[in-house]
Amino acid sequence: MGITLPILILAIPFTMFLVLGIGGVKMPRKVAGVIGILANASLLAICYTVAFRYFFSGDTQFIVDGVRQQLQVFDVTWLAFTERLVVKIGFLLDPICAMMLVVISTISFMVHLYSWGYMEHEPGFQRYYAFLALFTFSMLGLVVATNIFQMYIFWELVGVSSFLLIGFFYKLPSAVSASKKAFIVTRFADLGMLLGILVLTFYFPTFNFIDITHNTGNVLASTGGATFLGASVLTWALVLIFTGGMGKSAMMPLHIWLPDAMEGPTPVSALIHAATMVVAGVYLVARMFPLYLVEEASLQFITWVGAITAFYAAVVACCQIDIKRILAFSTISQIAFMMVSLGVARPDIHEGLGYMASMFHLFTHAMFKALLFLGAGALIHAVHSNNYTAMGGLRKYMPITHWTFLIGCLAIAGIWPFSGFFSKDEMLSAMFSYSPFWGYWMTMVAGLTAFYMFRMYFLVFWWEENPHYKEHKPHDAPWQMSVPLLILAAVSCVAGFIPFGHFVTWNGEPYDIHINGQVAATSLTVAIIAIAFAGWLYWKKNDKPSLMRQALPALWTAAHRRFYWDEIYLFVTRKIIFGGICKGIAWFDRHVIDATMDAFASMTQFLSVKIKGMQSGSVQTYVVWYFLGALVLAAITWICIL
């Protein structure tokens, strides 16, 4: 296919960024908004065209006897480290890429539209759109990366645009610190990724994904069985690269930035911290999946991290008050779901069902999680608070929001026929077939998911009406905000019926997906029980929740405080690194090194004072020095020579 469209895909958002970023200050907000939305509409169109051509045209460059091909549309040199280590900027088109193009452009467009209503009265509206454009650009560049270094470049760029967007309300210290936290934590993770790339390319000097994933054997051979601290260097490389993914996708223990990131505007949370950027980690693993297959250990690692995170996040989500935080933790746990299912994917288990499933879930999750966030945005817009304590019984006041939100909850809870059901079912069946333990474990997590989602749902829309609706009456959002809700809701309803296996599989060979009845039944029952329990607790105002809370106060507070991860981090950074290392080094610098330098000076001064007695002013001492000097000179030489 021609390179025009791919180039446009990258060019449009970047131009938007420049235009709005530099010229934005001058232009009125309406103009900026319109430009942004129109640009995104065109972007949407182009992305869809590309994706559909890839999937449906049946052109031989895309699909050869049923196997979907990986195609480098273009690949231009950007910087040459050595002969073989050459950084290129390119456009790699393959199933997951095409899927991501669809996801990103869709959500991005929705968010642009939504923000027009949501952010209308915020100062710096133009800046906001510029940052959105920057993010879209970086995210697209990330997914179309032809080589791992290009991915790293855009990895950093999405990081910084997320930093800018979280810190959009830069006058609030909380927003600023949240953005700093997000940037630094992810940066730390990226360091791991960089090291991983260093190690990998040290043994197998190429960045190109295709070279890597098609010659996994050579990669393994090139390391020559070298090991470091017990593990093979390849495992190290892969785990380190995955660390980058952990950072972006907020896996334990690098998850702490995501809840705080909710300080940003809600549409931003929907776009970046629910749908697109946070799944970059999953995407990274999927991208290098063949290589991960080589090292069993690395997949094990991924599975464990994912499973633990999923459970942890689900538990924490049950005890949050801020609805955006609840959604954030649910995001974490859902992404962990995908990770686990990638971790358990094996070619010999249903042709790598887990891989397909996690991509499927990535797709559906993007849709319904964006839906939920935008709904939450609408709620916040209406009651001007993030906490469900300020809500309750809103179903009468804002019906659209209510219904769409309900659909979202059902989808994420995995109720038939909503999209979440199908993807989650695939994942669970993959896990069951890998090992029943993980299967049951994740089913339990699924149940928790259903519970906390509906806990929120009931608390927000049923429970009891908040008294201060009297003075100001909540109402549904303007059309710019409602339309995206409706669209996304619709998608969440039908997306499940997409025969995903025909499009995205680990090796490009399509196959039919079939509901595993037993798994489906289990998860469905678990979900329904959970929902029922939630309903029993939170349908009407009562004191059961508080009773439960008093039953296990320690657990509740612990969960509410997210099991004290932030405190631990604060302690390490503030006390140990800042208070200890940095202060120590600064002190050392001033009082040891600098002091030594000054000591030379003061020593010289001291000497010059000491010897001043020599110049006593009396001729006779002068002459004594003179004479003795001559004699000593002679004497020493005499002793030395003769």
């Binding site: 040199t77 950007w78 910087l79 040459a80 480290f81 050595t82 280590l85 950084v87 270094f149 470049i153 855009f154 950093e156 760029l157 910084v160 810190g167 830069y170 006058k171 609030l172 210290p173 600023v176 610190s177 953005s179 700093k180 940037f183 630094i184 940066r187 730390f188 360091l191 960089l194 090291l195 260093l198 390319t201 040290f202 690194i577 800042f578 290392i581 940095c582 202060k583 080094i585 600064a586 610098d589 090194i593 600098d594 030594t596 330098m597 000054d598 000076a601």
Partner: protein, 489 residues
């Protein structure tokens, strides 16, 4: 050569601003022209080590020449210097007292810098080196702020201490640089062709020269002049000093220490790799807890310049190229930093980050520039810092011994720490609520300040987006040095 003339005429100018601006603009134009012409000649297939070479006998008895010539690296360095001189002129628009003398010394300083980069005769190189050092004393002492007398004296004396060792090293090279019976020469190229310095001497001379230049390169533990010096210097001087002068150290390190003493470089690199590796992390860590903007930046300069020497010591093509890229990037970036700090200080009259906040609301332009500089410093793709650091890391990691690779890993950790202290400042000073209410009526940048900053930002972004031509130019210029190194074993 043209540049040399240009700045000589420049240095005699009386400092009506117009003249100064004209001079620096001419300078900038000339160096751009030089770069273009140079690339043209290279493209035309002129493969000699140095272009525009010229040599005039000076002190005949000692065979001292005034020998000039440029290769890809020095051309870029000249370009960098002229850009910074250009920006510095605008940054010090409202200097007082004695603007005439200020610009006079300023020009002398830049004369030294330019002369250093164009000369390929060790003697003249050293002379220009010292010419560049000395005006610092008066520039800081007279026009500086804070404990200026102490800092100026300390800076001057420590750098002179460095050049004392350097001088001895150069003398040694001079006397041992030619085979028996040959005519002793100061010319770098001839010495490298003779390659007649026996290893036992090389070790000693390498230590002398490398320490000599290392002091100017702010190598741990000889870096303490730099925080105080930078903190007290006037804006333009900090710009030129951190931006260009510290680069003389790195430049000299490979042009003399490594190029002329390859055997010793192979043998002794590890000592200095340890030192520079320390200064990379060390500078970054101590920048985290400073409260004075200039101190923060000075320590980050220590860290970044440590990175330069670190890369150069890796003795492989890619890493050295990265080192040069880092020189350029750090030069522009830190110049931008100091310019901005100077402008902020000129308005708020404080550099203490605890007393500032929310500058973005008061002077958005400067705020944005500061954030851009910060991103460049923490290595954001699309700005020059990223290119340089990545080239260094990947080049250095090529090194065959695990020991060095471990050090590279230590070095990479600095990018996180950098992020920490940069964001600390950005979050505290630029973003956040306004700390001090009578900062509210402060004005945003004036046109000359915008000119100064924009010229630097454009270069930063330029390198960040299209690094490869630089990369090629530098790489080809390193060939002789790499050959010299390989010829040892």
């Amino acid at each position: 050569m043209m540049i040399g003339l240009a700045c000589c005429s420049n240095s005699n100018m009386k400092s009506i601003r117009g003249v100064m601006v004209a001079g620096s603009t001419v300078l900038l134009a000339m160096s751009i022209w030089l770069v273009v012409d140079f690339l043209g000649l290279r493209a035309a297939g002129d493969a000699s080590e140095m272009l525009y070479t010229g040599s005039w006998m000076w002190y005949a008895p000692l065979n001292i020449h005034l020998a000039v010539g440029v290769d890809g690296i020095s051309v870029l360095m000249l370009l960098l210097s002229s850009i910074i001189v250009f920006a510095g002129t605008f940054a010090s628009w409202k200097i007082d007292p004695l603007p005439k003398n200020f610009f006079l010394w300023f020009c002398l300083l830049s004369t030294g810098v330019f002369g250093f980069f164009i000369s390929i005769d060790m003697f003249t190189m050293f002379m220009f080196y010292e010419v560049a050092l000395i005006p610092m004393y008066l520039l800081i002492g007279v026009w500086g702020t804070g404990r200026k007398e102490y800092s100026a004296m300390k800076l001057t004396l420590m750098l002179m201490g460095g050049s004392a060792f350097l001088m001895l090293g150069l003398l040694g090279i001079y006397w041992h640089g030619t085979p028996e019976g040959g005519v002793h020469t100061w010319n770098i190229l001839e010495i490298s062709h003779n390659a007649s310095i026996d290893p036992s001497w090389q070790y000693l001379l390498f230590c002398f020269t490398f320490v000599g230049f290392g002091v100017l390169g702010a190598m741990f533990p000889f870096h303490t002049w730099s925080p105080d010096g930078h903190a007290c210097a006037p804006t333009a001087v900090s710009m030129l000093h951190a931006g260009v002068l510290m680069k003389l150290g790195g430049y000299g390190c490979f042009r003399i220490a490594i190029f002329l003493l390859p055997a010793a470089a192979q043998e002794l690199a590890w000592i200095f790799i340890i030192l520079t590796g320390i200064s990379v992390v060390y500078g970054a860590f101590s920048a985290c807890v400073q409260t004075d903007l200039k101190y923060i930046n000075a320590y980050s300069s220590v860290s970044h310049c440590g990175m330069v020497l670190f890369a150069i010591l890796m003795l492989n093509e890619t890493a050295m190229t990265g080192g040069i890229l880092q020189m350029l990037s750090h030069g522009l970036m830190t110049a931008l930093f100091f310019a901005l700090i100077g402008m902020i200080y000129g308005r708020t009259h404080t550099r203490d980050i605890r007393e500032m906040g929310g500058m973005m609301q008061i002077m958005p332009y400067l705020g944005v520039c500061y954030m851009i500089a910060g991103f460049a410093s923490l290595g954001l793709p699309g700005l020059s810092g990223f290119v340089a650091e990545m080239t260094i890391f990947f080049g250095a990691f090529e090194h065959s011994e695990l020991f060095y690779r471990i050090f590279v890993i230590a070095g990479t950790s600095s990018i996180v720490i950098t992020a920490v202290y940069i964001l600390r400042v950005v979050g505290k000073v630029i973003l956040g609520p306004v700390q001090n209410d009578h900062h509210r009526e402060l004005t945003d940048a004036s046109w000359w300040e915008r000119l100064a900053t924009v010229s630097l930002i454009v270069c930063l972004a330029g390198i960040g987006f299209f690094p490869n031509w630089l990369n090629e130019t530098i790489r080809t210029s390193f060939m002789p040095i790499i050959d010299a190194l390989n010829s040892v074993f």
